[in-house]
């Protein structure tokens, strides 16, 4: 089965696998962003992270990010974003983003946008688990509505 460029998965991630989801051979350059589970956050030792998603909607929102990028940076050819869910240990890969273009210009900016936007709109949740407790964590506070996303 063809691998989807925008996906939520419970399988371990590999950067090569996500880059391979960009198909066009004309790409002269690819940037990748790899998000890993940090061992220490705000001075506390993380035991593991637990990710949960609304997969059908999350894949749609990931595709939206790809569309937004190709509108804003017209030299960008393809985008692939794969996010893992379930229990992730320290050092494991949470998310891989790959962006391709015939030339390197704009790729870094577009990749930066992709991860910021992911943290803003994609329905995925993270629970940090420490030796002495756990908490659902988010950097966001404002409810989102579609008009606010235009």
């Amino acid at each position: 089965m063809a691998q989807k460029p925008f996906a939520i998965t419970s399988e371990p991630l590999s950067v090569d696998d996500v880059v391979a989801r960009l198909r066009r051979p004309t790409a002269g350059a690819v940037t990748t962003f790899v998000g890993l589970v940090r061992g220490v956050t705000e001075g506390r030792q993380t035991l593991y992270l637990e990710y949960e998603a609304y997969p059908e909607m999350a894949e749609r929102e990931l595709r939206r990010i790809g569309d937004e990028i190709r509108q804003r940076w017209t030299t960008v050819e393809e985008v692939a974003i794969v996010h893992r869910i379930g229990r992730l240990q320290v050092g494991e890969t949470i998310v891989v983003i790959a962006v391709s273009s015939p030339h390197r210009h704009e790729l870094f900016e577009a990749t930066h946008y992709a991860i910021d936007r992911l943290k803003e709109i994609v329905p995925i949740w993270k629970r940090e688990v420490w030796a002495d407790g756990s908490e659902w964590r988010s950097e966001r506070r404002q409810p989102l509505e579609d008009e606010a996303l235009a």
Binding site: G35, Y51, E52, A53, Y54, E56, M57, A58, R60, H83, I94, V95, I115, L118, K119, E120, I121, V122, P123, I124, W125, K126, R127, W136, R137, S138, E139, R140, R141, Q142, P143, L144, E145, D146, E147, A148, L149
Partner: protein, 86 residues
């Protein structure tokens, strides 16, 4: 009676899902019910939800929706606490 009611599916995730001990419920609501009305009804039925609704986004059929969105029969409504991917 039946033509005055619609049935919607409501999904919960993360903290509110745990607080309610369920990830999905089916609800019969009057025709004309908006997202806001639905949240009010849910809060009344499940007071534990109250601490989450202020920062909660809502999706209808897998797209973010405003509080004034009117629901239709068969809609899938999702209560989304602040996201934390990446």
């Amino acid at each position: 009676m039946t033509e005055e009611q619609i049935t919607v599916k409501v999904k919960f995730f993360a903290a509110p899902r745990e607080a309610l001990c369920t990830d999905e419920i089916s609800l019969d609501v009057p025709v004309g019910t908006t997202v806001k009305d639905l949240i009010d009804m849910l809060q009344e039925e499940y007071p534990v939800l109250e601490r989450y609704t202020r920062f909660m986004s809502v999706a209808v059929n897998r797209a973010y929706a405003g509080r004034q969105t009117e629901l239709r029969d068969g809609d899938e409504v999702a209560c989304l606490p602040p996201v934390g991917g990446g």
